[in-house]
Every structure is written in structure tokens, then in C-alpha cells.
Amino acid sequence: MKSRNLVLVAVFILIAGITLGAQTSQKPVEIGFWSLFTGGDGAFFDAMVKEFNASQNEIVMKTDTVKFDNYYTKLTAALAAKNAPDVVVMHQDRLSNFVPNGVLLPLDDYIKKAGIDISTFEQGPISNCRFDGKLYAIPMDVHPLIMYYNTDLFAKAGIAKAPATLAELVADAQAIQEKTGAIGIAADNTTATYKAYTLTRMFMSMLKEQGYSTLNANNTKANFNNDAGAKAYQALSDMVNKYKVTPKQLDYDSSVADFKLGKAGIHFNGVWVTGSFEQQAGLNFAAVKFPALFGTNASWSGSHTFAVPVQKTFDEKKVMAVMTFINWMTNHGYLWAKAGHVPTRKTAIDTPEFKSLPHRAGYADAVKYTFASPDTPKWPQCYDAISDSLEESVALNRDAKTALSNMEQVINAILAR
């Protein structure tokens, strides 16, 4: 009885083995993939992956979208267990949390092997993904902070063109408030679902316009407790406290909603909201690069990149499939641009598809003025701390000196640790 069972089991295993073996020889390569796009851009991203899967029959991308809040937590745990998917989306400013720990694969050799021409990329975003000369990620987009304005409200207030200086920005915002009753500038300055990141991004951009980075060259100390910082802080505080063109206690979601519903003249945000603004019926707006409020142009920018986690067992076939995927995605960056993001590859920008998209032309050149966040694993904590500190000082209408020395103390303590 027992031996008969054994034979049955053996036969079953044999059959299963044969059918499985037969299947794998015909089946396309399956690539596990995590992304973090749950906002307005998520739908555009999923559509792209779908199109990639449909465009060929050798590779199937199995996507899993993780809520942004938990994304890096989940990813870090998976990387520690060498259990991460074959390719992941990662913000450029997070790379320094991972690269030094050796959990990401250097990509130069595979890029060469796949025949991807790196010179077809914008060099700024590419060089931000290099560590010790090696390329650890490939940028899919840059998403700079830009300025949106409602063209109907501008016309109503009798303003002919986008503000180009700080004085014009304030004057235009005041004109909008007086003549249309709408909010002058909707830019978040209060934590709700998100921290007051726009406030921070504007502060960083204004610093950079004056030639200063937020941290010093080797990221060991704060670099904003100076005249440039004081000017930047004062401008932001004045919008809220002196000219009252930005409402107090405005959080991110409300600022987006206000602009979307035509209740705000000017809105500062990353390019990722362009797509959802376009879908809003009755909203007529323009999008331009962050104005040169202090003489020169500079705008904070993030970048979504593709990175390849180091696996328990290395499978070159999979890595090469990932390269094919990345090549396709970056070449079809004009599809991604529908969400608002700016493609990083000239082969995507120089296409009729990209050029025919409205609004994008207004800020496509913003890429030239973008700068990346400081390259230190402590940046996420500094970013949160700067946001909290700016929010507090603006809310309490602190003078620039107090505001900046408080903030400097907090940041230096984090960096000194």
C-alpha cells in the first residue's frame, strides 16, 4: 500500500516537472517591480507599464504599487532580506541611504551591454545618480518645483504676463486678491497629510538662486544662516504675515484644491500636478519655471529613478530584461510627461508627442536650472526638520534672525550626530 502511494507520488512529481519545464522554456521573463505612484501620476504610470507589456512578448512586468508612506520602509526591509523585486522606483535623494550599504547593483556594465546610449540623457540628472563614478540608478524624470497661474484670474486682475521678480510676484498676488477676491498665492505652509514641503522647496530654491546650497559642501553643517537665507525667509514670511497674499494654516491638499477650483491666482508646486489640473474642467492655467526671484533661476527638483536591487542569486537574464524595460520607459518619457513630469532623455523630449503636449513647453527648460537635494543619508531627517522649523517660524511670524538660528541649531545637531 505504502509503496504504491510512493510510486504515484513519484509519477506525479515527474509529470509536474515536465509540464513546468515545458512552460518555462516558452514563458517570457517575469520581472517583479515596485513603484510608489499613488497620486495623480499613478494612472499614467500603470498605463505605460501596460503598454510596455503589450509592446513585446519576452518580458512581463509584474507591478506592485506601494503606498508612498510605507514605500521606503517596505523596500528597506526587503533589501535587508535580499528579497526585493528585480527593479524598483526610487527617488534620487534616497539613493545615498542605500548605495553605501551595497544593496543596489552598479549598472554601467549592463547599460553598455544593452546598448543604451547614456549621452542621450540630460547629464545633470544622470550625474546625480553616480556614486564614486559608478551609476547606481537611471533617472526616469525630473520633477522641479514650478509656478502655476490661473490665466482667467490674471486677465480679470489686468495682469498681462507671469511675474518674473519678487516685487512683481507680490504685486500680482495683491492685485488678484483685490480685484478678484481669490487667494493670491496658494503655497502650503502647514503640516496636514504632508509636511509644509512647498515652503521648504521654495526656501531651498530661493537660497540656490542666490548661490547657496542648503547645507555646506561636505554636508556637515547648515548653510542658510546668512544674508541669502534671511532674504529667502523674509520673502516667504512676508507673503503670509506682511502682504497676506498666502493664507495662514494652508496645507498641501487645500492649496492644490484651491488652485484646482479656480480659487487661487498663483500656485507653487512640483510639476506632478499638471496632469490633474488639465483634467479639471473650466480651469485655465499656465505653468512656468520657478521665477528668478533673486536674480538667477534655480528650482528644487526631485527625480524618480529606476534602481536594481542586489539579489540572493544573480540572474543576468533578468537584469538585461530590466535594462530593456528601463530603455523603453525612458525612451517613451513623453507618455510619462502626460502626468506632468519632465523626461530626462533627449530622445523623449525631441518627439512630436512631447512637443504637442500643452503647458510642458512652459517649463521644459526648468530642467536646466534644477538642483538635487544634499547628498547625505541624513537628508530625509534634515528635510523634515527644516519643514517643521520653517512652518513654525512663519506661523509665529518670527524675525529672520531668530528663525534661521533656531533652524541652524536643529540641523547642525542632526548633522553632528
Binding site: Y72, T73, T76, A77, L79, A80, N97, F98, N101, V103, T190, T191, A192, T193, Y194, K195, A196, Q249, D251, S254, A257, P377, K378, P380, Q381, D384, D388, S389, E391, E392, A395, V410, A413, R417
Partner: protein
């Protein structure tokens, strides 16, 4: 006989094994591992570096730790008495032997079965400044909108309010179960002696609920010290970190800034505080017996 005992022991082992395995794997092991981790510098991806008590020393000099612990204490002081008293008052309504009493018990308990995220999101919408229900009502009476969650004066109170709605039902169940166990004869004799409603409440019900009250106070204190989810969902710790509670800082330190050792050390400090307070209460409760 001995044979049978062996079977009983085996059955006990079999039936409790699923629970015990889960209990050890997801509670006992993580607690011990957390204590172990608190002596290390570790970012999950790096190798652990033993640093002795440095994490604990850092906490005492970390203004953010002290501030967020202060916010937790603020929440504890505001929420513990209110949730207990409201739970007790709800219990008085729920124990009435009428149909409406039964219905009330169910209704009051219902919010407790909701998850943190649901409660947080729901109340975040109700409190929303521009279109939330509460400000819509205020607008009807000609008042200006209030930044329930964005004004530092109201944000913590709003979180406490949502927490009351969410968890008072649990205390109500404990109280009403205890009230139902008080023998009717005591109330009958009190009535015969001419005791009014208030006298019955203060002289009979409340004194006889002493044990339950002690339990409720300890459970509520522990729950309040652990506050995180609803605050995180409703305010994200804002405005400017004024509602950032300790567990949120622990979470951020561990899983956003990847300092697992320091995060563990801070949670152990919180554990010590809870332990000391509950121990103190326990002794206090025994002495007055």
C-alpha cells in the same frame, strides 16, 4: 488515569500551540529583540554596532524626544480622564434594562471596532477647515472657520475628541458589565431607605466599581501613552510638530531615518514610563482595598 493525563497535556499543547507560536513570534521575540537592538547602532542594511547605553543617553539630550514625549503626556492628561468619565456615563445609559438601553450599548460600542485609519480619515474630513462638517455648521451660524487640525490651539484637543468617540465605548463595556454584576438587592434596600438617584450613584454604584475603575484607568493610561495612529492620520504631527507624539517620533526614527537602535531605545524608555505608572497605580489600588 495517567494515560488520560498524558492525553490532556497533549491536547492542551495542540490547542494552545497556534496561539503560542504567534504570541512568541510576533510579541515576545520582537520585545526581546527590541531590548537587544537598543544597545546597537543599526540602519537595517548595515552591520550592527554595539554602542552600550549611548542611545539612551542621546534620548535625554534630544529636544525632539523630550518635545514629543511632552506631547504624548499632554494627550494622556487630556484623554485619560475624559475617556473614562464619558465611558462611565455611557455605561449608565447602556445598563438601563430597556430596549433603548440595549440599542445604546451597541451604538456606543460600534466606533471601537473601526480601524485607526478609518477613524483618523473620517475625523480629518469632519474637522477639515474649508469643507469639513463642523466648519459648515459654524458657517451656518455666521462663525468664521476654525483650523481644527491646523491651529496649534485646537489640534491636540481635536485628536482627543476623535479618540473619545472611538474608544469610550470600550470603557463603557467594562463599566456596564461591572454595574450589571452589582446585586439588585443593594439597590432595592437603598430605595427602601429612601436614597435618591444621586445618592445611589455616589454611595453604591461608584464605590462598588472600584476594582473595575482601577482596571479601566490602567488600561486607558497604557492606551493613551501609546497614541499614534489617529494623530498621525489626522494631523501628520502638525501644525509644526505640536502634535507629534512619542510613538510617531519612534516610528519616523526607525522607518524613515532608519535608526533602529535609537528607535528601540526610545520605545523602551516609553515602556519604562508606562510600567512605573501602572505599577504605582496597582500598589495604590491594593493599599486602599
Amino acid at each position: 488515569m495517567q494515560h488520560r493525563n498524558r492525553y490532556v497535556a497533549r491536547d492542551i499543547a495542540i490547542f494552545s500551540a497556534p496561539y503560542l507560536i504567534v504570541y512568541f513570534a510576533f510579541l515576545v521575540f520582537p520585545v526581546i529583540y527590541g531590548i537587544y537592538l537598543s544597545f546597537f547602532d543599526w540602519n537595517i542594511l548595515s552591520t550592527k554596532k554595539f554602542i552600550g547605553f549611548k542611545n539612551f543617553m542621546e534620548a535625554f539630550g534630544d529636544p525632539k524626544f523630550l518635545a514629543s514625549f511632552g506631547h504624548t503626556c499632554q494627550f494622556v492628561l487630556l484623554s485619560t480622564p475624559t475617556i473614562i468619565i464619558i465611558g462611565f456615563l455611557l455605561a449608565l445609559i447602556a445598563v438601563r434594562p430597556t430596549k433603548s438601553g440595549k440599542a445604546a450599548e451597541t451604538v456606543f460600542f460600534l466606533p471601537y471596532i473601526l480601524s485607526t485609519t478609518v477613524v483618523g480619515t473620517l475625523w480629518a474630513w469632519l474637522f477639515q477647515k474649508n469643507f469639513g462638517l463642523f466648519n459648515q455648521i459654524l458657517a451656518q451660524f455666521g462663525f468664521k472657520p476654525i483650523g481644527w487640525l491646523t491651529d496649534p490651539r485646537y489640534a491636540m484637543v481635536s485628536i482627543v475628541g476623535a479618540t473619545i468617540w472611538w474608544t469610550a465605548g470600550f470603557n463603557m463595556i467594562l463599566f456596564s458589565a461591572a454595574i450589571k454584576q452589582i446585586p439588585d438587592e443593594i439597590y432595592d434596600s437603598a430605595r427602601i431607605d429612601g436614597a435618591g438617584r444621586l445618592a445611589t450613584l455616589t454611595k453604591i454604584t461608584i464605590p462598588l466599581l472600584k476594582d473595575t475603575t482601577l482596571l479601566v484607568v490602567i488600561l486607558q493610561l497604557i492606551a493613551s501613552f501609546k497614541v499614534f495612529g489617529q494623530a498621525y492620520v489626522m494631523t501628520g504631527g502638525g501644525p509644526y510638530a505640536t502634535t507629534e507624539v512619542l510613538v510617531q517620533y519612534v516610528y519616523k526614527t526607525g522607518f524613515s531615518y532608519f535608526r533602529l537602535g535609537y528607535a528601540s531605545a526610545m520605545s523602551i524608555l516609553l515602556f519604562m514610563v508606562i510600567l512605573i505608572i501602572s505599577g504605582f497605580q496597582f500598589i495604590l489600588g491594593k493599599e486602599t482595598k
